[in-house]
Symmetry: C2
């Protein structure tokens, strides 16, 4: 098959991938254009799913009272987790802005429902977690589509899932996978916040690639790719 | 912020999202251009990760003996799982081609290493699964980048993770998240195989979206989006 993507189409995809950010600040209050929101949700819904089970749901949340309670859960969990880190990193951790629950005009909870099309789902018997994994692929589609539309997305994981399940009235068997904050932004940062602040560095690609088995960095059949992945990308 | 994506850039991203397929057939034996492979891996490595922990590794596998043993594990697991489904669906299930382990020129195992940058990872204390979720986002980036380069990707989840861990010599604490088969293809199917074969249908977007809480399909503040998501997309 000849390649069916033009250079500009390809670069659009890579631009979304490399300029996507976890957004916690710079949200504007402008509501998201509903046609664009619909497009972003379609993108999420077209993620791969194990056995074509499409096990996701998207709960759109604007209600201020619900979001306020979720924000409270964030504050409680952030305080708990700060006890797990020693000074001077604790003070630094506590100073980070890590969510935009009330600053963003829209929150979305993406959930996993294992009962959908079940109990037998092709490809889910040996590794049941693949159902959850499908939902994460949907989140990534949503995130990239939003980026291309100028909409920032932040994933808040400092939360009590029990409180979330209660507030959103999720059935017992449904798992909240991602709690997302969405909105137009005044800017997208050029680097992840935790990189800019010096908390952690981006690993080199060569540090995360192995050949044929775990931890194998040398293998004569892989010399070309080994050299190539040392090169930084223009986009990256 | 003005939107910084051109229409063609956006359509490149959506094209990748809507035309991506789980590929099990139509692989050609042509090796993947190594510059393109490097680009695809960079895309995966630029996924979001909880606390910027970048907890993924990519094990590139060409070795025939390893792949043959993984294929054997697939056969065993497929036979086991077929006992979970009743006739006439069992016969149909057994007739499906569900992997391209030996047909594709490259396999990649994407793993999760919770110890990376740990034990304290920002955002992972309340919901530890978010580490795994990050790895899934990397898989989706890889999948989309591959699609734009004419490279098909199939995710094989009918496998024993224990056998996989043994064969690839993964340490006890490392989790194999995705086992992927990659290669150029003679064509990308227009629909998922499990949809074309009538196994399952694609849900409508309106069936997976709720408003403010689980199962709520009616809410007066959401009338516009409710109408919009009933419309099918040109791309989809």
């Amino acid at each position: 098959m000849n390649n069916d993507f033009s250079d500009e189409e390809k670069s659009g995809l890579y631009k979304a991938i490399f300029s996507r950010r976890d957004v916690r600040s710079h949200f504007t209050s402008k509501p998201i254009d509903e046609k664009i929101l619909s497009q972003i949700l379609h993108a999420a819904h077209h993620a791969p799913s194990v056995g074509f089970s499409q096990p996701w749901n998207f709960i759109l949340i604007k209600d201020y009272e619900i979001r306020k309670k979720i924000k409270e859960s964030f504050e409680t969990e952030k305080m708990h987790s700060s006890k797990l880190v020693e000074e001077p990193r604790r003070t630094k951790y506590l100073s980070f802005k890590l969510e935009g629950i009330l600053d963003s005009p829209l929150n979305i909870c993406v959930t996993y429902d294992p009962s959908k099309f079940g109990p037998f789902v092709i490809g889910r018997s040996s590794i049941p977690e693949t159902g959850l994994y499908s939902v994460c692929c949907a989140v990534q589609n949503l995130w990239l589509a939003a980026r291309s539309e100028g909409v920032g997305v932040g994933w808040v994981s400092i939360l009590s899932n029990n409180i979330l399940k209660n507030l959103l009235e999720l059935p017992e068997h449904v798992v909240p996978v991602a709690y997302l904050c969405l909105g137009y932004v005044s800017e997208f940062a050029t680097k992840p916040d935790l990189e800019s602040s010096g908390w952690l560095s981006r690993l080199k690609l060569q540090d995360v690639v192995y050949y044929e088995k775990w931890n194998q960095k040398e293998n004569s059949s892989w010399n070309t790719i080994k050299e190539l992945i040392k090169t930084n990308l223009d986009y990256a």
